[in-house]
């Protein structure tokens, strides 16, 4: 807990100002911490000019003094399903390459699946020095427990200092199991990764409180340092066929392949147009489209521009569009070349899911809508006036009705 040394405390209020959680108040010229609100983030300890604040208990190392130097190398968990790599795999390799170079160590990709061995080379082309291939018919389907045990087993043997995986449905399902088996730290949904200026710790930045705050997390007492990373926020390297690397086949012990779950079938749903997270153009409907009839125009515009259809939560909650279209904190993150929002007001929960877009166009009746703060081009106007005109013009331009 946070302990305030009342002898040293002068009641200056610096700690109160930096406390993100409103847990500190100055009472009778002394700092008082509400222990139920305090998250022990340590901001006050750092800010106190008198050195009067201390967080007790922080020096106990969970692993009981793990030898951090025994762990070296950066791993990226490749996601290969339905005959293709998830794009986040290449994005992770791009960042992993940079981290490995900073640490002067190797970048290893881990590829698990059935019949996946022949794809190992493409991971080398994208930046890996080594590929660990676990190829077994038992891995045909995604089995959370088997994937988790195999990865944890390999990590225990090879001792990488960093393991990165995509914050996809699959990554978010089994990577937490791996971190728990290894009893190490895991940071979810990172949007930024850097090596600390001193030492080898990984600084892992993620949105908190629905994107209102960015928190940088470290895991400085255990290894490996693990993070899942949001698709589409990191840059992949262009494939380089001249890159050389080593492919190592791993045969997992039979016991690791036993599962308590059985996948009867794996169904891919055919969505119209490109997958939202991979589309270069995303046309988004917000509450301001007002009438489900206008959704048809949103879809038509997306079709003309070979783009995907996105939605705010209000629109998917009203079931004007299916849930998979939802962009934002509890939906998907997109960063297309062009994002166009119609009747999107720009709640922070939505903005965090689209702010990485190259060009943002916003159309909204309300000139004070927060979406205009992030827009490249803003149009104050009624969606029902603008949208039909725009659909006509763009479909003409594209010679496509």
């Amino acid at each position: 807990m946070v302990v305030v040394d009342l002898e040293k405390c002068v009641g200056c209020g610096e700690c109160e100002d930096v406390c993100t959680f409103g847990a500190i108040s100055i009472v009778d010229e002394k700092a008082v911490v509400d222990p139920d609100t305090c998250t022990l983030c340590g901001a006050c300890e750092e800010a106190c000019p008198e050195g009067a604040i201390e967080i007790e208990g922080e020096d106990i190392s969970p692993a009981g003094g793990m030898d951090l130097d025994a762990w070296r190398g950066v791993w990226v968990v490749a996601e290969f399903r339905h005959d293709r790599f998830a794009p986040v795999t290449f994005e992770l390799l791009g960042k992993g390459r940079q981290l490995a170079d900073d640490l002067e160590t190797d970048l290893t990709a881990v590829l698990m699946g059935s019949g996946v061995g022949e794809y190992a080379e493409s991971l080398i082309e994208r930046g890996a020095d080594k590929v660990l291939v676990v190829d077994s018919p038992r891995l045909e389907q995604f089995l959370d427990d088997v994937y988790a045990r195999i990865l944890a087993d390999m990590a225990q043997k090879e001792k990488p200092e960093i393991i990165l995986a995509g914050a996809t449905a699959m990554g978010r399902a089994f990577i937490p199991q791996v971190a728990t088996i290894l009893e190490t730290g895991l940071t979810a949904d990172c949007t930024g990764l850097e090596i600390a200026p001193e030492g080898r710790d990984l600084l892992q930045t993620r949105p908190a409180f629905g994107g209102n705050l960015m928190a940088t997390i470290i895991c400085d007492s255990t290894r490996p340092q693990m993070a899942t990373v949001r698709p589409h926020v990191l840059k992949a390297m262009e494939p380089d066929a001249s890159r050389q690397g080593e492919v190592i086949k791993i045969d997992p012990h039979e016991d690791l392949l036993k599962s308590n779950i059985k996948v009867l079938e794996s169904v891919m749903e055919e969505a119209e147009g490109p997958m939202l997270t991979e589309a270069e153009v995303v046309i988004t409907a917000g509450r301001g489209v007002e009438n489900p009839k206008n959704i048809a125009l949103i879809e038509k515009l997306a079709h003309c521009m070979e783009g995907g259809v996105g939605a705010t939560r209000a629109v998917t909650d009203a079931e004007w569009l299916p849930g998979r279209c939802q962009i934002g904190q509890t939906g998907v993150t997109v960063s297309p070349k062009l994002y166009m929002g119609f009747g999107v007001s720009g709640a922070i929960q939505h903005l965090v899911g689209m702010q990485g877009s190259e060009i943002i166009v916003a159309v909204n009746k309300d000139p004070d809508a927060p979406v205009f703060d992030v827009a490249t081009y803003g149009i104050v106007g009624d969606v029902k006036d603008i949208l039909p005109l725009l659909v006509r013009r763009i479909c003409q331009e594209r010679g496509n009705d």
């Binding site: 969970p62 949904d189 940088t216």
Partner: protein, 262 residues
């Protein structure tokens, strides 16, 4: 059936206000509510009990006022509840949280099914469900969008939703599932349930009560730490396109042509 549902009290997203200048949460008037996805977990637990018999116990870790969350769950029909509460739990990350929850669930006795919401809306990590499954030695299926009981009641057949579709998964009891909002419609508390919940004795279990190791709970048991925080800055780059609707659309089309998009 011994069924456990894990719930979390979170700040009500609708009442949370944010001071963007100072980057602090304005806590005045912020209500604590049950995490939205946890209502679906409660409903899943109750519907399983209604089909197969048994009892449902709700577990939460938090300050003593988290009893309110347990009372609300009980008003919906949950049979028992417990709050794991100790100052020593403060600062817990997901690894310490799964340890703490697993100690409490083991203290409850045997378990056939554990339900969690897909994620909590304050942290959004979705890590506690799968981590808890490892702690309890249970198979885990995440992001469950549909659920039915297998013939003979030996397990569950569920749809695990992912980006492009879904998997149909069969899993025997005991099992841990994390559930989506689309799984079900949570029931409304009954008057009788509210009466029962109000009178219920909800125990508070301390670190000692659950036999927790000191170095595995709270800050000491949390390998991840907050290094720094900052407020995201959105790039101010807007150019408003003025005029009539026609003029605005013309201007936009020109801009998109310039950018090589159309």
């Amino acid at each position: 059936m011994d069924i456990v549902v894990c719930i979390k009290q979170v700040p009500d997203a609708a009442s949370v206000k944010w001071d963007h200048k100072t980057g602090t949460l304005i806590r005045d008037g912020v209500q604590s509510v049950i995490n939205p996805f946890d209502y679906n977990a409660i409903e899943a637990a109750l519907s399983l009990r209604d089909e197969l018999g048994g009892k449902v116990t709700a577990v939460t870790m938090g300050p003593p006022q988290a009893q309110d969350a347990i009372r609300e769950a009980m008003s919906m029909g949950v049979d028992h509840g417990v709050v794991i509460s100790d100052r020593a739990f403060a600062g817990a990350d997901t690894l310490a949280t799964t340890y703490t929850l697993s100690r409490a669930i083991r203290k409850l006795g045997s378990v056939d099914a554990v339900f969690c919401g897909k994620q909590a809306i304050d942290g959004d990590t979705a890590q506690v469900g799968p981590g808890l499954a490892v702690r309890l030695g249970l198979p885990c299926v995440t992001c469950v969008g549909e659920m039915e009981i297998m013939e003979g009641g030996a397990g569950l057949r569920v749809k695990r939703m992912c980006e492009q579709g879904y998997d149909v998964v069969e899993v025997g009891f005991p099992v841990l599932l994390t559930v989506l909002a689309s799984l079900n419609t949570p029931r409304v508390p009954s008057l009788k349930g509210k009466m029962r919940a109000r009178k219920a004795d909800i125990p508070l279990w301390s670190a000692e009560d659950i036999g927790a190791q000191k170095d595995k709970i709270g800050l000491a048991g949390s390998p991840t730490k907050v290094f720094s925080t900052h407020i995201p800055k959105f790039e101010a780059r807007r150019e408003m396109l003025p005029g009539t609707a026609e003029e605005q659309v013309d201007a936009l089309v020109d801009k998109l042509k310039e950018a090589g998009i159309i």
